[in-house]
């Protein structure tokens, strides 16, 4: 039996924020005449301590069981007043707020209009609050482990932090080795540390950490469940090499019949690898992998008389019969650290990247200047006619960034500095070369950035403001056509080498990850964080966090910082061992549900399933909500033809009277 509603209405002056354009006394007098309203008061600041005390006192003295606060937006103070009435012994969900400030007093100047509208908003709240129900928040156990997707520097760092805190981590990497983009870099700006030197120890750590289960050459296939209880399915792709037997000696690759025939992904295609390969010498795990498309035996079914790698492998690790393996486990939190793709320079055809071998990208430059790169760090440039050591070098910045024509309006944040760094490295290697950088702006905002930029300029690297319009060939030179916009001089600059400072783009395969975890994209197409300021590592999916460039372009320190942030956020449910699930979830009236499954189809969280129940001896299917997964959006409800699924606190029977009050009352 539900008790008769006894409503208290509290109209806030908010100083003069409300009372200047709303006659709050009139509103309170009006409210007192509405059905079931026992008390109606005004107060200068309802959210203040005395204001709250006023409400609590009335709850006790008048036996109120419903409270309406007519004040600011519920987005502002709903939690405050929920807490207040809870302290007075009421269920916190017996509260309704009438937004008479943001959506009334602040936007209307006429006091009659403001007062009339406030009355209606209060009446609508009365109509609804009478029918609200008490709700209880529930807690469920959380699995004390985490999944980290992507083992670049962000994933590695997040995994190490969580593992160090004592929780189990599943670190899943798509490629055969951890390390990601950072492993490809030569030096890092602005400090010029050797990228490999600072990264490799961490790579080794995450492979050897007792709390980390490294799943390299693996992909996440499916994630179900919810915060605290994600159910994960990972596909470990077949390496065709027995992981335990392989010693990483490399005899197989040396003997491979198609030795060094295939472009090395790690060297941006500038170096070559065999069909069986280790991506790079410091790869972790140091286990060889056969590329099934390149391998003669796997792709054609025949490799001479017998595959030579198998003959060469003394431990007998080669296993052509290996198949993909599915690993399943549960985790309490997920960190997405899937990184980025460098901008594909061929999408700016005017720069001739696809046409001229001496137009290269910044990533290629990284491999070229690296001592472990395809040229051993020597700057040998193939011009089409022959190999030269460039004398005239041009860098072009903002290629694929801040460029609406390719759909990327954002700044990639790292290009200014990596171009400066590469100019500096080039200057070291080619003391006599003429180096210039074409730029739109130089954004040297980070710690030590401006100083580094100054230093590079002092090293006789010329910065010319202009955005080249075209690159073409003239004789054995490349011509960069550009206007120096500071002097308004058109230039046709003849160079030997053009380095395109390509920006960062969301990964090609990010849609897969989005669908796995039901993440959203921001307008720049990177993953959307829950709040740009206050929840930058959270996502709208609870228990899923973002780290690194998958959320937006970042340099290494920012990436590491965000990874550590994500790790610490992810550890909250793991450390608590419990997660709170929302009370405002959908609920099904099984007696009217017709089991059509519309809601199952609609729910973006897979929170609803059809279950078979026994209705007086008949087996029927009805929908059932997993309250832990439900976010209470209510899309299911609006799509339910029999009105059987309803979000608590936003039920049709609570909203329809609100509509009536707003429509009918004058």
């Amino acid at each position: 039996m539900t008790e008769k509603p006894k409503i208290g209405v509290y109209v806030c002056h908010c100083g003069i924020n409300i009372s200047a354009t709303v006659d709050v006394e009139t509103v309170a007098d009006y409210a007192l005449k509405l059905p079931n309203v026992e008390v109606a008061r005004t107060y200068s600041y309802m959210c203040s301590d005395p204001g709250q005390v006023l409400i609590k006192k009335d709850i006790k003295e008048h036996g109120l069981n419903r409270v309406i606060v007519a004040s600011c937006s519920p987005r502002m103070h709903e939690p405050t007043f929920r807490k207040a009435i809870q302290e007075a012994g009421l269920n916190p969900y017996y509260l309704e707020m009438a937004n008479i400030r943001e959506q009334c007093s602040w936007v209307h100047q006429n006091i009659d209009e403001g007062t009339a509208k406030s009355k209606k908003l209060v009446a609508a709240s009365v109509a609804k609050v009478r029918l609200l129900e008490a709700l209880e928040s529930k807690e469920v156990d959380a699995e004390p482990s985490a999944l980290v997707i992507g083992a670049g520097i962000a994933g590695i760092q997040a995994a190490l932090d969580i593992a160090d805190a004592g929780f189990k981590v599943y670190l899943v990497e798509k490629t055969p080795s951890v390390g990601g983009r950072m492993a490809q870099l030569d030096k890092t700006f602005p400090t010029l540390d050797c990228s490999a030197c600072i990264l490799t120890p961490k790579m080794v750590d995450c492979a050897s950490h007792p709390n980390i289960e490294l799943l390299s050459y693996s992909e996440v296939e499916e994630i179900g469940g919810y915060i605290g209880n994600f159910e994960v399915k990972v596909r470990k792709k077949a390496r065709y090499v027995d992981f335990d037997k392989c010693t990483g000696c490399g005899d197989c690759a040396t003997e491979c019949r198609v030795k060094d025939r295939f472009p090395s992904e790690f060297d941006q295609g500038m170096g070559k690898r065999s069909a069986i390969y280790l991506p790079f010498p410091q790869a972790v795990p140091a286990k060889y992998t056969i590329d099934p498309e390149d391998c003669l035996f796997l792709s054609k079914g025949k490799c001479g008389k017998a595959p030579k790698c198998a003959e060469a492998c003394r431990p007998g690790a080669i296993n052509f019969d290996q198949v993909d393996e599915i690993v399943e486990f549960k985790v309490g939190a997920v960190i997405v650290a899937t990184g980025f793709d460098p901008f594909d320079a061929s999408r700016k055809p005017e720069y001739g990247y696809s046409d001229y071998p001496n137009v290269i990208t910044g990533m290629e430059m990284e491999r070229l200047v690296s001592a472990s790169g395809p040229t051993g760090g020597k700057l040998k440039i193939f011009t089409g006619e022959g190999e030269i050591e460039p004398k005239e070098v041009a860098f072009i910045k903002c290629v694929g960034s801040r460029d609406e024509s390719v759909g990327n309006v954002y700044c990639s944040r790292v290009c200014c500095m990596y171009v400066a760094k590469q100019a500096h490295l080039l200057r070291d290697k080619l003391p006599d070369a003429n180096i210039r950088v074409y730029y739109m702006d130089v954004r040297a905002f980070g710690k030590g950035f401006e100083e580094f930029y100054d230093r590079v300029r002092r090293e006789n690297v010329r910065y010319i403001r202009g955005n080249p319009s075209e690159i073409f060939k003239r004789g054995d030179k490349l011509v960069v056509k550009v206007e120096d916009t500071l002097t308004a001089t058109p230039l046709e600059d003849e160079v030997d080498l053009v380095v395109l400072g390509v920006g960062l783009e969301p990964r090609d395969d990010m849609r897969q990850t989005m669908e796995l975890l039901r993440l959203s994209q921001s307008p720049d197409r990177f993953f959307l964080e829950a709040h740009p300021k206050l929840r930058p590592v959270d996502t709208a999916t609870e228990g899923v966090f973002l780290a690194g460039c998958c959320q937006g372009p970042k340099d290494i320190p920012d990436t590491v910082a965000q990874a550590k942030g994500a790790a610490s956020s992810a550890m909250i449910p793991l450390a608590r061992g419990k997660v709170m699930i929302s009370a405002q979830v959908a609920t099904v009236d099984e007696s009217t549900c017709r089991g059509c499954g519309f809601c199952v189809n609609i729910c973006p969280y897979k929170a609803i399933e059809l279950v078979t129940v026994n209705r007086y001896g008949h087996e029927i299917e009805v929908a059932r909500v997993n309250e832990a997964l439900c976010k209470g959006c209510g899309s299911c409800s609006a799509g339910c033809l029999s009105d059987s699924i309803q979000p608590k606190s936003f039920r049709d029977r609570q909203i329809l009277p609100q509509i009536a009050a707003l429509g009918v009352l004058k």
Binding site: S73, E102, Q103, A638, G639, L656
Partner: protein
């Protein structure tokens, strides 16, 4: 039509974008007509299209539903469902003789306080032009 007819508008706003956008309009002291009264729902996907019909039946002269821009939905897809459902409803209502100026739908993000004002002005103006709703209002029938 009465000289001083003021249309009565009921609006359904999603909590995350449009309601926040309307709040922002308030914080920015943007001024707009007082004819509009908002019912907050968590997502535009929550808006049962029959609410629109119900609001007209119960005395509204115009109805507005507003949600996040496509792709921005806090619940990922709710606004897509809302768009399909309410698009259908609009066609249906128009076919049975409800002036299309009485129902609008908009995308207003949390940062679009000014767009909210424009949307309100357009909704109120259209409802004003359409005049008091005399279709199937409940009040007119033998109460």
């Amino acid at each position: 039509m009465s000289e001083n007819y003021e249309p009565n508008i009921v609006a359904f706003l999603c909590n995350w974008c449009s309601y926040a956008g309307a709040d922002l309009a308030g914080t920015s002291r943007v001024q707009y007509p007082a004819n509009i009264q908002v019912i907050r729902v968590m997502c535009s996907g929550r808006v049962n299209p029959l609410y629109v019909m119900n609001a007209l039946q119960q005395g509204a002269d115009g109805v507005l539903v507003s949600g996040c821009h496509p792709g921005d939905c806090h619940y990922m897809e709710g606004n897509f469902y809302a768009r399909r459902r309410l698009g259908m409803l609009k066609d249906l209502m128009e076919f049975v003789g409800v002036d299309p100026r009485r129902f609008h739908m908009s995308w207003v993000s949390a940062s679009e306080g000014n767009k909210w004002k424009e949307v309100v002005e357009k909704t109120v103006e259209d409802a004003r032009e359409a005049g008091p709703f005399e279709g199937f209002r409940r009040r007119q029938i033998d109460w």
